[in-house]
């Protein structure tokens, strides 16, 4: 069965450092992958989309990589700030493009 795995343990880092979150998937051949941010008590908010033919995508302090051979995406936040503390979700899009499958999310805590 299709499976999307994100580290369920919280990631604690110091302010100013680079945070790296991992999304691994199996039994899936996605053409697109998305990353969302979710704050406590709120709905997810879209951050970035990366296509299978794009190795890397950047947006301000955010960088996403997509390795279809390793079946893995990495999400980086450079110069992290306490305001970056949240849960980050990766999501894969099915071939028809009408459904997202989410990973369990990784909670990031940035300490000042």
């Amino acid at each position: 069965s299709q499976k999307i795995e994100q580290n369920s343990e919280a990631l604690n880092i110091q302010e100013g450092k680079t945070a790296t979150l991992t999304c691994n998937y199996t039994n899936y051949s996605p053409a697109y992958l998305q990353w969302y941010r979710q704050d406590p008590g709120r709905g997810p908010v879209f951050l970035l989309l990366i296509r299978e033919n794009e190795k890397e995508k950047r947006k301000e302090r955010l960088k996403v990589t997509f390795d279809t051979t390793l079946k893995q995406s990495l999400f980086h936040i450079t110069a992290s700030q306490p305001a970056d503390s949240a849960t980050y979700l990766c999501a894969l899009i099915n071939n028809a493009g009408n459904m997202l499958t989410f990973g369990g999310g990784t909670r990031l805590m940035v300490k000042p």
Partner: protein, 115 residues
């Protein structure tokens, strides 16, 4: 624009009771989705709709029904609530754009407890 709104924000039900969750969006989006989110399990798709009058099953549809009578509204119904349906429910929408792989816009969620 209000974006995606959900009603109610909180609800407590007894086992066997029924209720309807309402999702409304003012962005003229064609696609709408209902998810549930449980601790450690991420978001799981319950049902979705690709347009007015159409609905389809997602990953965990059992125990739920949906209707999309108007483009801007997507209703999620629980006919006979069970404790296993205790969860946070999120509605989302997105436009039908070329390629179809664009972002989804989420509502604030409804926290449902079934006793």
């Amino acid at each position: 624009n209000a974006g995606v709104t959900q009603t109610p924000k909180f609800r407590v039900l007894k086992t066997g009771q029924s209720m309807t969750l309402l999702c409304a969006q003012d962005m003229n989006h064609e696609y709408m989705y209902w998810y549930r989110q449980d601790p450690g399990m991420g978001l799981r798709l319950i049902h979705y709709s690709v347009g007015e009058g159409t609905t389809a099953k997602g990953e965990v549809p059992d125990g739920y029904n949906v209707s999309r009578l108007k483009k801007q509204n997507f209703l999620l119904g629980l006919e006979s609530a069970a404790p296993s349906q205790t969860s946070v429910y999120f509605c989302a929408s997105r436009p039908r754009l070329a390629g179809g792989y664009n972002e989804q816009f989420f509502g604030p969620g409804t926290r449902l407890t079934v006793l």
